[in-house]
């Protein structure tokens, strides 16, 4: 076992539930490297919702709250406010975060509560068998869009920025180093930080949407579609159609953070 895995995995919970070739392991890998680098494992609480993505924290040997579908950010809000000294990191999926949990996502961002939300975004409901998600591309065929998806996908980063998140980034599993750097910045950021991680799902999205279950091929497609934020800044929306803009998309350091304000009132109380 890799020393990082040896040090941080909850061995009793193994084996992983992820399919072979799933991108979620790459995200967990990047996350644990950051945890190791920052030396924060003893100050960490992890929260997951429901779905493949939300199983990621279960495999980490720290305090983990594996909550209901969509409710990870709401539960994390209670956890953070009860003990603001802790780093609370939420692992969620695209369906969990901006589908069933959309309301909690909006209000977590609006409150600027110091949570780090990592959204593992495979563009499909994987665990339930490959149904369309709020992030599934238009016209994509899935188990519940046999004639093609009639709806447009939601840009979770744009939603996070407009709702008030103070750190927003997007990375992919094809950029493990950039991803780790983004996660590190997000954890160190005081306030609501959000990272959208485009991740391959060979079993469902791969087979049904992209025509291949080969993870290397899917990673190559993700990499080809990706474009750095600084390059994208000079391009028109038409030129960016179908592209994945990666990097730090938004940062705001002046807005006050919720738990600090709340505990400030308590001190005066």
């Amino acid at each position: 076992m890799h020393p990082i895995a040896e040090k941080y995995l909850r061995k009793r919970a193994l084996p992983f539930i992820f399919c072979s070739g799933c991108g979620h392991g790459t995200v967990l890998n990047a996350f644990l490297r950051v945890v190791d680098e920052l030396g924060i494992i003893d100050d960490l609480s992890l929260v997951g919702g429901i779905g493949c993505s939300s199983w990621a924290p279960v495999f980490v040997n720290t305090d983990v709250l594996h909550t209901l579908h969509g409710r990870a950010i709401a539960a994390a809000t209670g956890l953070k406010l009860a003990d603001p000294k802790r780093h609370v990191v939420v692992f969620t999926g695209d369906g969990d975060c901006v589908g069933i949990g959309g309301n909690h996502f909006l209000h977590g961002a609006r409150r600027n509560i110091d949570l780090t939300v990592i959204m593992l975004d495979n563009g499909i409901y994987g665990m339930t068998g490959g149904q369309m998600a709020p992030t599934t591309p238009t016209d994509a065929r899935t188990q519940t869009s046999p004639y093609g998806n009639l709806e447009p996908p939601l840009d979770a980063c744009a939603v996070a920025i407009s709702a008030g998140a103070t750190y927003v980034g997007r990375w992919t599993t094809a950029h493990p180093k950039g991803l780790a750097g983004g996660i590190k910045e997000a954890i160190r950021h005081k306030g609501f930080s959000f990272i959208d991680v485009v991740s391959q799902c060979p079993t469902q999205a791969g087979r049904y949407i992209y025509g291949t279950a080969n993870p290397a091929e899917l990673l190559r497609m993700i990499k080809e579609r990706s474009i750095a934020k600084r390059k994208a800044d000079g391009m028109s929306p038409e030129q960016l159609e179908g592209r994945i803009v990666v990097g730090k998309l938004h940062e705001e350091t002046r807005r006050p953070e919720l738990s600090e304000r709340l505990y400030g009132i308590m001190k005066r109380g």
Binding site: A75, T77, K80, D83
Partner: protein
């Protein structure tokens, strides 16, 4: 603390009781007729080093309460009918993960938006069966401002002891009635207890012989807890695929409450020893029932009553005993006749059991219950 006497409404008594019991976290969403609980919590918690947060809905509220409970705080929320419906998934999660928390449901008329400003007792079954799957909770039911205070304290104590969501089923009438509250000088408070085992040897979901868990650690105390809504083994690891482990856990989640029903029983009998007619009532209706039974006694009628302060687990044995020698039992309720069916379940002597439902938002008058007693 000195005994203090104040005049407050039932909702305020709940807030005072909660803070006295050690509640330091409240998450809620405004709803009539429970909003005063959130309003007063927003004032009082900050003064008591506690956290108040208004969430975006009731689902978020119960979720935040669960998060705060694992963060180490005694936590509660308050709501009414529609909000109580939304909280059910969280209540099931709390039952499954054995998370102590208190849910105050100030009952109003339903279904749906129903009667926001009127009273009811229509949520009694939802309190027990509202979430999917097999589980048990504890539900207490005050009929006065004094009982609102006392049963709120008790709700927090029971939540800690049994590691279960405890529901305080109050109603619009009790919640908005202003009357005297004697705040006792001394009360019993059950504090959260850390497990007796050290983190290295602690098995978070290994029950003691009585089916209960050994204390409750918080996040950040070094236990590396895994709290999961899926049926799990003694370590908290998913075991939904395992019929034996899953079945055992479901059974324990139920029996850790039902096996202790005798210890939990909380009923107040009145004139029961020689009673020919017994009224069984709870919540605000118990107030009219008390008046009716007293009036019946002055008329020479051998009437008695039992006031239920706990609804779940249902006080089977205490009620069986109370109705044993009665000829007739009357169950007035502000619903279609729900608890009456629980009483019928106990009726092994074929006594006459009469449901006296009242729908529409107002409580029974003493006269209505008296008429029921007289026609017995």
């Amino acid at each position: 603390m000195k005994q203090e006497v104040v005049i407050v409404q039932g909702n305020e008594a709940c807030v005072r009781g909660a803070i006295r019991a050690g509640c330091r976290f409240f998450a809620g969403y405004p709803i009539t007729p429970a909003s005063e609980v959130a309003e007063l919590m927003s004032h009082e918690l900050a003064k008591n080093q506690g956290v108040f947060i208004q969430m975006e809905d009731e689902i978020a509220s119960i979720s935040a309460v669960i998060g705060a409970a694992w963060g180490g705080m005694k936590a509660c929320t308050a709501t009414s009918g529609p909000g109580f419906s939304l909280m059910q998934e969280g209540i099931g999660y709390a039952a499954e993960t054995e998370t102590p928390c208190v849910i105050i449901d100030v009952m109003r008329g339903g279904p749906s938006t129903g009667q926001p400003t009127q009273s009811s007792q229509q949520d009694v079954m939802q309190a027990k069966y509202g979430s999917h799957g097999d589980y048990e909770v504890i539900a207490l039911c005050p009929s006065s401002v004094q009982e609102s205070y006392e049963l709120t304290v008790k709700a927090f104590n029971l939540a800690e002891h049994y590691r279960v969501p405890v529901i305080l089923l109050t109603d619009e009438i009790v919640g908005h009635t202003r009357e005297k509250l004697r705040i006792p000088a001394a009360i019993e408070v059950v504090d959260r207890r850390r497990p007796s085992a050290a983190p290295e040897t602690y098995t978070p979901y290994a029950p003691l012989p009585d089916g209960l868990l050994d204390g409750m650690p918080s996040f950040g105390q070094g236990y590396n807890l895994l709290v999961d809504g899926q049926l799990h083994d003694q370590w908290g690891i998913r075991a939904g695929h395992d019929p034996v482990l899953s079945g055992k856990l479901m059974e324990r989640l139920c029996r850790k409450i039902t096996d202790h029903a005798d210890r939990l029983v909380d009923v107040e009998p009145l004139f029961i020893d020689d009673a020919d007619v017994v009224v069984i009532a709870y919540g605000s209706v118990a107030r009219s029932a008390t008046a009716a039974v007293k009036q019946a006694r002055t008329e020479g009628c051998r009437a008695g009553m039992v006031k239920l302060k706990i609804l779940w687990p249902f006080p089977d044995d205490a009620l069986r005993k109370a109705i044993r020698n009665a000829r007739k039992i009357i169950v007035p309720e502000m619903n279609i006749g729900k608890i009456c069916r629980e009483v019928q379940r106990l009726n092994d002597r074929r006594q006459t059991i009469v449901s006296l439902p009242k729908l529409g938002g107002t409580m029974h008058t003493p006269q209505e219950i008296l008429d029921g007693i007289r026609s017995a």
